[in-house]
């Protein structure tokens, strides 16, 4: 009760509640947010892997063959798959965020959020189509 002595009529003693260690489990939005924070590591990993691939490509066909052979190891396949899934998760988050961060106006009227977000997906599909076409052509 020693703390109570600090309370006097004109100097009230406030109570500060502590945040539970499990605050991020209380709400779906909080859990998703923490998941995004933690999985950003995988996005970095995915980027590093991609840079490594480019480096192998720059070093010639032998180096590239060695690189792809290494990637076929189960460990790399697992890491790459997990990283890819999280990159996908982040990409979708970003795409859906665009209408929030960017207010697009055409002739003074605000373009609906679905169109702004949707255009990202359309460009994504188009670019993926072009890449797929280049890969399957030869």
């Amino acid at each position: 009760m020693s703390d109570l002595s600090h309370h006097t009529r004109y100097h009230p003693r406030w109570y500060r509640r502590r945040m539970s260690v499990w605050w991020w489990l209380k709400n779906r939005a909080y859990s998703k947010f923490v998941l995004r924070e933690l999985t950003s590591v995988f996005v970095a990993l995915f980027a590093i892997l991609f840079l490594w691939q480019l480096r192998a490509l720059a070093h010639g066909p032998d180096a590239y063959a060695q690189f792809t052979a290494r990637l076929k190891a189960p460990l790399f396949l697992t890491i790459d798959t997990v990283a890819f899934l999280f990159v996908l998760f982040h990409t979708i988050t970003w795409f859906n965020l665009t209408p929030t961060a960017m207010v697009v106006r055409v002739r003074g009227k605000r373009v609906p959020d679905k169109i702004v977000a949707g255009s990202n997906y359309i460009v994504w599909v188009l670019l993926s189509g072009i890449v797929a076409w280049i890969l399957t052509r030869g």
């Binding site: 109570l4 109570y15 509640r17 945040m19 961060a101 960017m102």
Partner: protein
């Protein structure tokens, strides 16, 4: 017997209690009653010592914000019928120091609010004879949504960053800063960007998005912060590419 509903209300009397605890009250259940009506019933008929803030009863004043079943809500808009069968848990707003019962201290919030200079700042103020600063409906439309904020602080109680980083300026204050940035009469966007371009400002936000979900006035603070970030990022890029450019 007329139907009743139970309310588990946080009580904290600093002169008597070491820490807050719940007290249960049984109040009449009526379809047209909101949580605030139930609290007023408690105050009038059951326990006059219960303290809480309220004023307008219609979502305009922003003073009756509390946690209702763990969600930040204006108690004047939280119907008992939406929380059947009860008990309904009523707590003071998250992350704010509790002064007494359901009353929280908002000094920090007010400090953060004034920090972002939420008023019109002009390089040159016209003399009154020149008339008012005119604005077209389209110009008004750019910031109108953000000007609907009633400072109820529900967004602060919904934001885990506010709880984790006490210095974080927070959703409502940044939304209000953006409201003045977008105002065609204002000329202090650069000043506010300087104030808010740090970890306690816009970059503290990691887009949880709950502030927008709980906002009773559809202000969309999360949107305001992301737009502010975009401006901040473009500004940083510009000064990197054109360091000699006028700033």
């Amino acid at each position: 017997m007329p139907p009743t509903i139970a309310l588990d209300v946080i009580r904290y009397r600093p002169e008597r209690n070491e820490e807050p605890s719940f007290q249960t009250y049984e109040v009449p259940f009526r379809d047209d009653w909101v949580v605030l009506d139930a609290l007023n019933y408690i105050k009038d008929w059951l326990d006059g010592s219960l303290s809480f803030r309220w004023s307008c009863r219609m979502g305009v004043c922003g003073s009756c914000g509390m946690m209702v079943n763990g969600q930040p809500k204006l108690t004047c808009a939280a119907y008992l019928s939406d929380h059947q069968p009860g008990p309904i848990r009523v707590e003071p707003l998250n992350y704010f120091p509790i002064v007494r019962d359901l009353v929280v201290d908002i000094t920090e919030f007010l400090r953060k609010l004034t920090k972002v200079k939420p008023w019109i700042i002009r390089d040159q103020v016209w003399p009154v004879e020149e008339g008012e600063y005119r604005q077209t409906p389209a110009q008004l439309d750019t910031y109108r949504q953000f000007s609907q904020c009633i400072n109820c602080m529900l967004c602060y109680a919904a934001c885990p960053i506010v709880g984790l980083e006490p210095e974080f300026v927070g959703p409502a204050a940044i939304a209000l800063a953006q409201r003045y940035n977008l105002d065609s009469r204002d000329e202090a966007a650069k000043q506010r960007l300087k104030i808010l371009s740090d970890h306690a400002g816009i970059w503290g936000c990691t887009f949880v998005g709950e502030c927008t979900q709980v906002c009773p006035k559809h202000v969309d603070p999360a949107g305001a912060i992301q737009q502010f970030k975009l401006t901040g990022a473009l500004d940083a890029l510009k000064s990197l590419l054109l360091p000699w450019g006028t700033r």
